[in-house]
């Protein structure tokens, strides 16, 4: 039944089409007969463009997309050059020696990390952890080599600048690769792949260009919301180093013992909070009533930045090593993990902290206090972990 109907439709459409073409041609011939040359020329161009669009429409679309990608690649090139220059300037101002850091930085901009093979995923987390440790150490050594006189805070900030410069450089290389590949093959589908993602890519690149300035100057960024909440708890108490780049302070709240940890500020670092939490739980032989984690987290478009919400689970981003460590140790002792997040966009998380997010951290502090009050009894131990980059946030 359907087939017959479709055939009928086709025949009707086709006959209508032939009629149209016939009438078009007859009108042309009519005009030839009247002998109006301009009209004839116009007819010709009209028909020509009609057929051009039928046969070359795709190609035209390809050209337009390619141009869009080319423009984006041009802008990305500008961004990564600015980032590179800022990295060089930051390094130059933090070393008194007259070594030009330019060649070393140019080498370092293409630094890569090969992720462990995941074919046999058992035991991949320690491998990943190890790879990231080596990378981290390499970064630090590199900065120490170029700027031996820089203090720890400055070294961490320079590492942040380098990280962002590498990210921008990578984004540029990928987009430029697709641009040149698309130009070479003129394949619509190849070009579409990158064109569809351009808005997101450009937004991330733009926020990175803002972020690099924040790292160079040591300003707090949106991602530091969790660290700031922890800092508000620990301020005024003695701190000690518990894991790499992580400090912990002990304080009291309504008779509960709080162990508050955050990445060591005010340099740019996220530290290894997973390891820190594991050590703290082990030190207390698992007698911890709850772990409360505070982190900045992605908001949906349309939600207000700086709003807070609560949930369960290890609130920590990154590649998953810390999350794994926390999940393992809390499972071992059956410790509940609560999460409080401060909402912000991806762009805000790497840009200088906005007032909304700053005010959000005050609300987060109140929520954490309420959680401690409800989820732990007097005399209990509660771990409060502020996750995030501690650039510009002391303790």
């Amino acid at each position: 039944m359907d087939g017959v109907f479709a055939n009928l439709m086709f025949i009707t459409l086709f006959s209508e089409f032939t009629l149209k073409v016939q009438s078009m041609f007859s009108s042309i011939f009519a005009q030839i007969n009247t002998g109006d040359p301009t009209s004839l020329i116009l007819q010709f161009f009209y028909l020509l463009s009609f057929f051009l669009f039928i046969f070359y429409g795709n190609r035209l679309q390809t050209y337009l997309m390619l141009r869009e990608i080319g423009n984006a690649a041009g802008r990305l090139k500008g961004m990564k050059d600015t980032a590179r220059n800022l990295a060089i300037a930051t390094l130059k101002e933090s070393t008194k020696e007259a070594i030009d850091p330019t060649p070393r930085i140019d080498h370092f901009l293409e630094y890569f990390t090969i992720m462990p093979a995941s074919l046999d995923p058992t035991g991949i987390v320690p491998k990943l952890d190890h790879a990231l440790d080596v990378r981290d150490q390499r970064f630090r050594d590199e900065v120490k080599l170029i700027a031996p006189t820089a203090d720890d805070v400055k070294t961490n900030d320079i590492e942040g600048v380098l990280e962002v410069a590498i990210s921008l450089n990578t984004i540029y290389r990928v987009v430029n690769h697709f641009y040149l590949l698309g130009k070479k093959t003129m394949s619509l589908y190849l070009i579409m792949q990158i064109q569809m993602q351009l808005p997101m890519i450009m937004e991330i690149a733009e926020s990175y260009s803002v972020a690099i300035k924040a790292f160079a100057d040591g300003q707090p960024i949106g991602d530091g919301a969790g660290a700031l909440v922890a800092a508000k708890f620990m301020h005024g108490n003695e701190t000690r180093k518990i894991a790499k780049d992580v400090v912990v302070a002990e304080t009291q709240f309504e008779g509960r013992r709080l162990l508050v940890l955050k990445a060591e500020g005010p340099g740019s670092t996220v530290g290894k909070p997973g390891e820190a939490i594991k050590k703290l739980i082990d030190e207390n032989e698992g007698k911890v009533a709850a772990v409360i984690m505070i982190d900045a987290a992605g908001k949906y478009e349309g939600e207000k930045s700086g709003e807070t919400s609560e949930g369960t689970g290890a609130a920590i981003g990154g590649i998953g090593v810390d999350q794994y460590t926390i999940e393992e140790i809390t499972l071992k002792y059956k410790i509940p993990v609560h999460a409080v997040i401060v909402k912000e966009s991806v762009k805000e998380s790497v840009s200088p902290m906005t007032k909304d997010i700053y005010e959000g951290t005050d609300i987060a502090v109140a929520r954490v206090k309420r959680l401690i009050h409800e989820r732990a009894k007097e005399g209990d131990i509660v771990i409060v972990a502020g996750i995030g980059n501690s650039v510009g946030i002391g303790q």
Binding site: D36, G218, A231, P352
Partner: protein
């Protein structure tokens, strides 16, 4: 490494668009006179004129918009300094080396050291 090329230089683009604009005005004029003279088919002049007018006008408008576009304002970072002693509060522009919970210059009122309590971006004029 080969790099991305930029679009055509602006003058050529401008001459092209202005050319189309002038042509379309000519065609529109042609169509109107043909209509008032009661002569036959001028619909193609009308079509071309309108089409050319619309595209060149849009292109020009976009170009002017790009010319007059101001770069986004540089975010202004503010540092809030507070005195724990008497609550004296001072907001000043961010200076390199500032960080939250840093102890800074002495209070103007009681001469006790003050502390940085907040660093954030000054609210930009609402746009979204």
């Amino acid at each position: 490494m080969k790099t991305a090329q930029k679009g055509p230089p602006i003058p050529i683009f401008l001459i092209f668009v202005v050319g189309i604009f002038l042509f379309s005005i000519y065609y529109l004029y042609d169509a109107v006179t043909a209509f008032f003279n009661g002569s036959a088919n001028a619909s193609f002049q009308l079509f071309l004129g309108l089409f050319g007018f619309a595209t060149s006008f849009l292109a020009l408008a976009q170009f002017l918009k790009r010319l007059t576009m101001t770069p986004p304002p540089v975010p202004k970072i503010l540092t809030t300094v507070e005195c724990k002693n008497d609550g004296f509060k001072n907001v000043r522009p961010f200076a390199k080396g500032d960080y939250v919970f840093k102890t800074v210059e002495n209070c103007q009122k009681c001469n006790e050291p003050m502390m940085i309590t907040a660093i954030y971006v000054e609210e930009p004029p609402k746009k979204s």
